[in-house]
Amino acid sequence: MYTLLNVNKKFGDNVVLKNVSLDVNQGDVVAILGPSGSGKTTLLRCAGYLTKADSGTLIMDDQQYDMKKISSRALRNYRRKVGFVFQTFNLYGNKTALGNVTLGLRVSQKMPKEQAEAIGKELLERVGLADRMDYYPSKLSGGQQQRVAIARALATNPEVVLFDEPTSALDPELTGEVLTVIKQLADEGRTMIVVTHEMEFARKVATRVVFMEDGEIVEENTAKEFFENPQKERTKEFIYKSTTWASVNQKDEEAAEALPQGE
């Protein structure tokens, strides 16, 4: 349903993505794991057309998009179908929570104000921020900001939402509320690709896990198989290290606690 095909990317001499392909089915929640510098963010940014790939193709709804070169019309059409959530939220500082969610609808889609605001309000309610619609980002906590950012990414009701480490910039006690929202989207059947370091989240929410290293997908499996029965030595080592690390790390513990209790 959503396919990345043969994505290549170099930064100077540094080969960051080596012919990466990824096939995502409707309703899949794909967690991308991997050590720092393995190219996870770059892959996601290429898929969001924020970084130009050297080569690669995106396939969605029988439409093909060249990842290196795209017309602005095709790009607008593509972006309506794909939402992006950043590690650093990137909310618009001059807009309220509601204004953040509706800006794309109003400006890019030329949607009338009332209609856009109705959609915005509904989305903010869904991420639990009905009482914060008129707040500016600087008056919101990190967790609240990221939830607004998620609502914003959902404004066009995209077919796929891409998340780049959505909780990495948050204080440990705030990751739970964001992961809960993402889990809720997963339960609703939203197709998502989530780059994350939260092992518990990947284990509990993802349907599939992709493990990247040095710009390549090393292993790919259902979440259950990936954790219970990893194939590659490198993957076993990574899971072992991350989970032992997590057991002494409060951040992951709290995230793990927060998840099953999601509304």
Binding site: G48, Y49, L50, S72, R76, R79, R80, V82, G83, F84, F86, T88, F89, N90, L91, Y92, G93, N94, K95, L103, G104, V107, S108, Q109, Y136, S138, A149, R152, A153, A155, T156
Partner: protein
């Protein structure tokens, strides 16, 4: 101070004030808005690093900052007619002052635009906005907020700079005071009064600046 001088000053106050409202302030506003647009374009060229244009902008800023405004005024008003280009006093002053604002404020505007995190521009793209739509709706409003204090300082400086246009035969506040004084010989009092008029205009602007800053502060 005699009664005669008092009556004279009372009369001339109205005249000077009206000239300020009708000439100096419009000139200030016209030059400032044009200059700000120039500053914005120069800043964008610097940020996006457009090759040749970037060098040209550098040269422009270098020339404007390195020469006195009064020399620039003379070149435009008295010099250009030699090669067949004629501008009125007002238009000459407008051109020169706009170019000056453009050069002096471009750095301020550039820094202010770059102070808005690049991630917000990327978020705009993901929202389907074009570069210009992102500029208009997200980046520039925040950049102007950052640049507001230094920019309002330059607008206040600009009010005072309009007096330089006296030298290219613009009938502004100073020229009007000069004309009245040349009849009555009360140069001392009339020039003091001209100064007072500038002081009033600048004070009003300072108050507006403070109010606006407080208002902007509440909206973030």
């Amino acid at each position: 101070m005699s009664e005669r001088i008092l009556t004279e000053l009372a009369e001339s106050f109205g005249k000077l004030f009206m000239v300020g409202l009708k000439v100096s302030i419009p000139l200030t506003l016209a030059a400032f808005s044009t200059g700000l647009m120039i500053a914005f374009l120069v800043a964008l060229v610097q940020i996006t690093k457009i090759p040749v244009l970037k060098q040209l902008m550098r040269i422009y800023v270098w020339i404007i900052r390195g020469t006195p405004m009064i020399v620039q005024l003379f070149v435009v008003y008295f010099g250009l007619p030699n090669i067949g280009i004629r501008f009125s006093s007002f238009v000459s002053a407008w051109i020169v002052m706009s170019l000056s604002v453009g050069a002096y404020c471009s750095e301020t505007v550039r820094a202010a635009i770059q102070s808005v995190p690049i991630g917000q521009l990327e978020a705009c793209y993901c929202d389907g906005l074009s570069f210009w739509q992102a500029m208009i709706h997200v980046i520039v409003p925040q950049a102007l907020r950052t640049a507001f204090p230094p920019l309002s300082n330059s607008i206040i400086g600009l009010v005072k700079d309009t007096s330089l246009a006296y030298n290219v035969a613009l009938v502004e506040i100073l020229a009007t005071a000069q004309r009245i004084a040349s009849r009555t010989y009360d140069y001392f009092w009339l020039y003091l009064e001209a100064g007072l008029i500038y002081l009033i205009f600048c004070s009003v602007l300072t108050v507006v600046q403070r109010k606006t800053e407080a208002w902007l502060e509440r909206r973030r």
